[in-house]
């Protein structure tokens, strides 16, 4: 309650509102991200009080992740890497003529994910953090290995192609300086390649450029999405019955998102895909996923937002930033003399309460603002497609450039755009590529760290209980999927 008293003044609430609005804009524009918004606004917070400063930065962070769903649903282009999985069902639902419903579901479950993350941060952060402390390089490598085995589930019936796509993602992520020994790999003497390909360039190339050049045919035919503009939905786009029916999916998505958020580095960019696959595997009707079903949107949106709460837990409990955004937040706290870590609960308990209250208010504001603007968002689809997609393509190029102010990142979107287009033509799924690309660096870092720590003894992964569980589940689920996939193919062959 003291936290709410600290932020319930016009100045702080106005800063949270500004943070949320800027965050949503950054999240909604492909190429810009919440991290960028937090980094840009950090200097403005130096002169503020610690409560005002951290409230605004957290609002930017949450707004940035939530805003990603708008472009994902309406344009089938993820606004942030955290909303890639939203395209599969959100984009499909919009295509099927229900953009209001898709946005309503996405916006509501973004809030549910946000509130779940905030609640966990408020009530069980120290307990979660002490469990996370048991994780060494072996456990991290095992968890990421488990996530990588999910690649086999990201196929549209063709597991081999999904695995090839995942391997390609892993190999492209290896370009640049290797972890541990800083050896250059596949740089071909080009210094621009030393730091590898940026995730933003990959995402824009693979999803946005591919969508623009593929959409050119439709646009030229004058295929406006008239069906999508017809009719409005009442309320949030789903019934109370649907809400109850999807509770298990919601819970799985939130827990997976939170868990991945707690692990350093991985973040929302893979949480949404991993949660989507997990929910699909646990569903009684996995065949509905990808056709524009409510569960698919919930899986992606609840998880990527719950992940944000998860990333804050090790930050405040242990002083460990999980990703670039929380690293900036850590800087924002330290500027005001606050040192996150186990002592923060004793020394700065009021500030933690204020952070929780600010996140709660920001989550509600994001929900209200996005829901209020749904009509406006959908109206954008009424713009002629040639105008809309041209502007989006331009924003993508600008987004790729402003990420590091490096022209090489802009050239990289051409490469990934060409690969993405080739994948689309050859019907190779793009999601495994993205998952492999995101996870490679973390996997290699922890795997090699574990090898160096345990003198190259691989049996250590099976001797440590947590890592053994993840590796065994990963291998078993992959074998199970391979067998069931082979059976399906055999049945299909017999039928034909």
């Amino acid at each position: 309650m003291s936290g709410f008293l600290a932020i319930f003044n016009p100045g702080t609430l106005a800063l949270i509102l500004i943070g949320v609005v800027i965050g949503i804009i950054f999240g909604a524009i492909p190429g810009l991200s919440g991290t960028m918004a937090v980094a840009l606004c950090l200097p403005f917070t130096y002169s503020m009080t610690s409560v005002d400063s951290i409230s605004m930065l957290l609002a930017l962070y949450f707004g940035g992740v939530s805003g990603g769903l708008i472009a994902a649903v309406l344009l089938r282009i993820p606004g942030t890497p955290g909303s890639v999985a939203t395209i599969w069902d959100g984009g499909k639902m919009a295509e099927n003529g229900q953009p209001h419903r898709a946005l309503g579901i996405g916006i509501t479950y973004s809030m549910v994910g946000n509130l779940f993350g905030v609640a966990c941060m408020a009530f069980i952060a120290p307990q979660i953090a002490s469990f996370a402390r048991k994780f060494g390089p072996c456990e991290y490598a095992a968890v990421i290995f488990f996530a990588l085995t999910l690649i086999s589930s990201l196929s549209d019936g063709d597991m081999l192609k999904a695995l090839i796509s995942g391997c390609a993602g892993l190999l492209f992520a290896m370009v640049g300086v290797a972890p541990m020994d800083n050896v250059k790999r596949f740089t071909f003497g080009n210094p621009n390649l030393n730091s590898g390909f940026a995730l933003i360039s990959m995402m824009i190339g693979f999803f946005a450029i591919t969508e623009v050049i593929s959409g050119a045919v439709d646009a030229r035919k004058g295929n406006q999405k008239e069906a999508t503009l017809a009719g409005r939905i009442k309320g949030l786009g789903f019934t109370a019955k649907e809400f109850v029916q999807t509770l298990p999916t919601t819970l799985i998505a939130c827990v997976v998102g939170l868990g991945i958020g707690i692990l350093p580095g991985i973040g929302a960019s893979s949480a949404n895909i991993i949660a989507y696959v997990t929910c699909k595997s646990a569903s009684r009707h996995p065949e509905r996923y990808g056709t524009g079903c409510m569960e698919g949107i919930i899986a992606s949106e609840a998880s990527n937002n719950a992940c944000c709460g998860g990333t804050l837990i090790p930050l405040i409990s242990l002083g460990i930033p999980g990703d670039a955004c929380t690293a900036i937040l850590l800087g924002g706290l330290m500027i005001h003399g606050v040192v996150p870590g186990p002592l923060m609960f004793q020394n700065n308990g009021d500030l933690i309460n204020a952070m929780i209250a600010a996140l709660f208010v920001a989550s509600i504001l994001i929900f209200v603002l996005q829901l209020g603007a749904t009509k406006f968002f959908v109206k954008m689809l009424g713009l002629p497609k040639n105008v809309l997609l041209s502007i989006v393509a331009c924003l993508c190029v600008v987004g790729a450039f402003t990420n590091n102010s490096r022209i090489f990142d802009v050239y990289a979107i051409l490469l990934f755009g060409a690969i993405g287009f080739l994948f689309r033509k050859l019907k190779i799924p793009a999601a495994p590529f993205m998952l492999g690309f995101v996870l490679e660096n973390y996997f290699e870092t922890y795997f090699r760290r574990a090898m160096a720590t345990y003198a190259g003894d691989m049996s250590v992964f099976f001797r440590r209980p947590i890592s053994a569980v993840f590796i065994v589940i990963g291998i078993a689920s992959m074998i199970w999927r391979l067998v069931s996939n082979a059976r399906k193919n055999k049945t299909a062959a017999v039928k034909s």
């Binding site: 192609k161 020994d181 790999r185 050119a216 002629p384 105008v387 502007i391 802009v410 160096a452």
Partner: protein
């Protein structure tokens, strides 16, 4: 041969060729092993090897499918000939935009890109003067709005190119 099978053969070929290329290139990676570290060449070679294996499996499974289905009078599917034109033009336009983005500058390159892209994607091949005027107006407004939003509001520099001279 069905289009899907042709696609699968091409996918398998690309996977095998890419895997071999990466495997060969991995040979030149400097290996500095400390303690039990596996070195920086291990994972690229492992993944490249897996990729080659997957490519071969895809080739074999597609070949077996082809043998099964040859008796069923396969139909040759054709790509929609002219449908490639807007796609290729769009990609070419993006390539030109990206290449001139820095040397020419954001404002001019974006204006040219937007007008060209709106024309490429438009159902109208020969636009009227009014239509062209609308595209030019949209391009000018969008370019300036993005430029001032990024450079002034977000303090993110965009290339000035020839306008800085």
């Amino acid at each position: 041969m069905k289009k899907q099978m042709r696609n699968d053969f091409i996918s398998a070929g690309i996977a095998i060729a890419f895997g071999i290329f990466v495997y060969i290139m991995s040979g030149s990676i400097v290996v500095k092993r400390k303690g039990g570290d596996i070195g920086s060449a291990f994972l690229p070679q492992l993944i490249a090897g897996i990729m080659i294996g997957l490519g071969i499996l895809l080739f074999i499974s597609t070949f077996l499918k082809l043998r099964r289905e040859t008796s069923q009078a396969p139909k040759e599917e054709k790509d929609g000939g002219k449908e490639w034109i807007p796609t290729l033009l769009s990609f070419a336009n993006i390539i030109v935009y990206v290449l001139i983005f820095k040397p020419v500058g954001f404002i001019i390159s974006t204006f040219i890109f937007l007008v060209a892209q709106m024309w490429i994607m438009s159902p109208v091949r020969k636009p009227s003067l009014k239509q062209a005027g609308i595209w030019v107006l949209i391009a000018v407004i969008t370019t300036l709005a993005i430029y001032f939003l990024f450079t002034k509001a977000f303090s993110m520099p965009l290339p000035k190119g020839i306008l800085s001279l």
